[in-house]
């Protein structure tokens, strides 16, 4: 589904990703872990199409298409969704309004009719239940005055509505208490299917107890330096990242 080859990315003329390779197949859950500033969010943003992140080398193929050719909105319509590490507040734009516009844009792209208001409400209600989202959050401005936990739940709620093929969660679990974490994990698991894939960026193995990954990758200094199964997450939790870097230096010398 997704293939990233030798990806180099600059942010403000500084190289952040330095030759990253990653392959994600349908139905898989990949987790990416790594120290602060290693480039995890950069990867997520580049996948979503943020223009200030400049790809200087490499390619990204998504479902047979050159992803780098597509605008952010077309990527979303093709089925890519990123849950932001820091969701943006947009006062004056009602949350429901955004959801409907987004869903109908995606439907239009796929050549489907827009959902009627009633149908939309019914659809949204189901998802609200899963994500424990109340009516009041729906009416408020997008993320306006939301608590940290509400923002994160709202991201996953949007994901539920858009039903993407590839979901990228950028530290959606950070700062959540255990109850909120379970809700978020429940939202992800409800979408899991053999057709969908997930890229879960996290610092904590805790989330992976609820969303069990098929692969865990360690991103250090703009490259994936180690990959493994879910046990790697436990090891990282216990030992930190230092030992991987030592391994790497040892291997290089």
């Amino acid at each position: 589904m997704l293939e990233i080859k030798n990806l180099h990315v600059n942010v403000e003329d500084q190289e952040i990703l330095k030759g990253l390779n990653l392959k994600v197949n349908k139905g898989e859950v990949h987790s990416i872990m790594g120290p602060n500033g290693s480039g995890k969010s950069t990867l997520a943003q580049v996948l979503a199409g943020r223009e200030s992140y400049k790809v200087t080398e490499g390619e990204i193929i998504f479902e047979g298409k050159d992803l780098l050719e597509l605008s952010p909105e077309d990527r979303a319509c093709e089925g890519i969704f990123m849950a932001f590490q820091y969701p943006v507040e947009i006062p004056g734009v009602a949350n429901t309004y955004l959801l409907r516009e987004a869903l109908n844009s995606v439907r239009k792209y796929r050549g489907e009719e827009p959902l009627k208001h009633i149908e939309f409400v019914k659809f949204a209600k189901e998802k609200m239940k899963i994500m424990d989202i109340g009516d009041n959050l729906l009416k408020r401005g997008v993320n306006e005055g939301f608590s940290g936990g509400e923002k994160k739940r709202n991201e996953i709620f949007q994901m539920q509505i858009l039903e993407p093929k590839l979901s990228i969660l950028d530290e959606t679990d950070s700062g959540l208490d255990i109850d909120a974490l379970k809700v978020v994990a429940g939202g992800v698991n409800a979408l899991r299917s053999p057709e969908r894939a997930f890229l879960i960026i996290t610092h904590y193995q805790r989330l992976l107890d609820y969303i069990v990954p098929d692969f865990v990758h360690v991103l250090v200094d703009g490259k994936i330096v180690k990959s493994g199964g879910k046990e790697l997450a436990y090891e990282l939790e216990d030992r930190g990242y230092g030992w991987i870097e030592e391994e790497k230096t040892a291997a290089n010398s």
Partner: protein, 447 residues
Amino acid sequence: MSITLSEKDNGYIEGFAGFEKTAPGGSLGWLKSIREDAITKFSELGFPTPQDEDWRFTNVAPIARGSFDILQNGQGKVSASDLKPYQFEGEQINELVFINGRYSTELSTTARLPKGVIVLNLAEAIDSEQDILEENLAKYADFKDEAFTALNTAFMEDGGFIYIPKGTVVEEPIHLLYISTSGETPSITNPRNLIIAEDNCQANIIEHYVSLDENIYFSNVVTEMVVGENSSLGHYLLELESKKAFNISTLRVQQARSSNIRSHSVLLGGSLVRNNVHPVLAGEGCDSLINGLFMSTHRQHMDNYMKVEHASPHCDSRQLYNGILDGRSRGVFHGRIIVHEDAQKTDAKQTNRNLLLSDHAQIDTKPQLEIYADDVKCTHGATIGQIDENALFYLRSRGISKEASRDIILNAFTNETLESMTVDSVKNYCANLITDWFNQRKLAQKS
């Protein structure tokens, strides 16, 4: 015979001498002396210059240098169908129509008013409502210090007169529609509105300035609004003058105890526009909401000047002004809040947000708090920026096109100021104007 006003050769004084002979109510002593005081003041004051602190950002030289006719037979050929685009859909309305500053009986309708409410044009009210006029006219708007108010007061001849007796609710809005059809030579009108609501009244008044062609003219407007105890009034100023026109308007509001007002201004037209809003919260427990939206492009200059005077305790005022500036246009927000010594427990808040859509547009924003009481809460804040790139990317990442995302963000911005409008038909009318503005901008960008 037409009268021409200009600074050359004492034109304003000479023009006044001619004007005075035929002016409505010219024979009434009290009115004559107000007009004469006003022209004297005007000639002493002269037009303001950027050296004047209140006019630092707005140079009125194009007006001062100009020469303007007072049109005598300016009714032109305006028919009911010409008014259509400026009427509010779905609204039963009381409407006074003025063509080039003068009342048109044929085009006006005032059939839907509750008992006791008087809605007339000023020229007629000068004859029939002398007592109320003598007591109120020019008693609030300061023609001793403000040149444009002095000019208006000297040359006032027509406008809206609205009187609402005690305990009256006027359900349907009252629309004062000023249409300009001025000819090739620049002309001036001095619309003068007087709105008086006694205690426990409720009403909405809309002042609306439009043009049927793109000529140069100068609308110099003064409105006095006297609000009785516990009354609630909404005032709307919709400024859609011709692209070449000058519009200077002053709204002076006098609020009695426990009254509340909502003032909304929407500035879209004109080349040089200045909107003064000056409420005096004179009684205890008043509430003032003063909102404005201005959208400028090309070389338009739009100046929003406020003087919110807290003169009594326990009053609240809220100002929210949003500006969108494009092209080489220039905007000004100058918000003065004056809290007098007795006005304890004042709660005043002022917000001005500006979006610059072009690198060449410019905004000057100046809050000015003058506080003479010690137990007050006054806050102000101003922002100037471009469209928030993070918000734009967020919406696009949800599948919404770039153009639609921009529209959503811009609409949210303009909606902030429309939200508090309580007359839905006017709110919708404004929303349509805004949509047109954005559409024209897009067309211009494509071509």
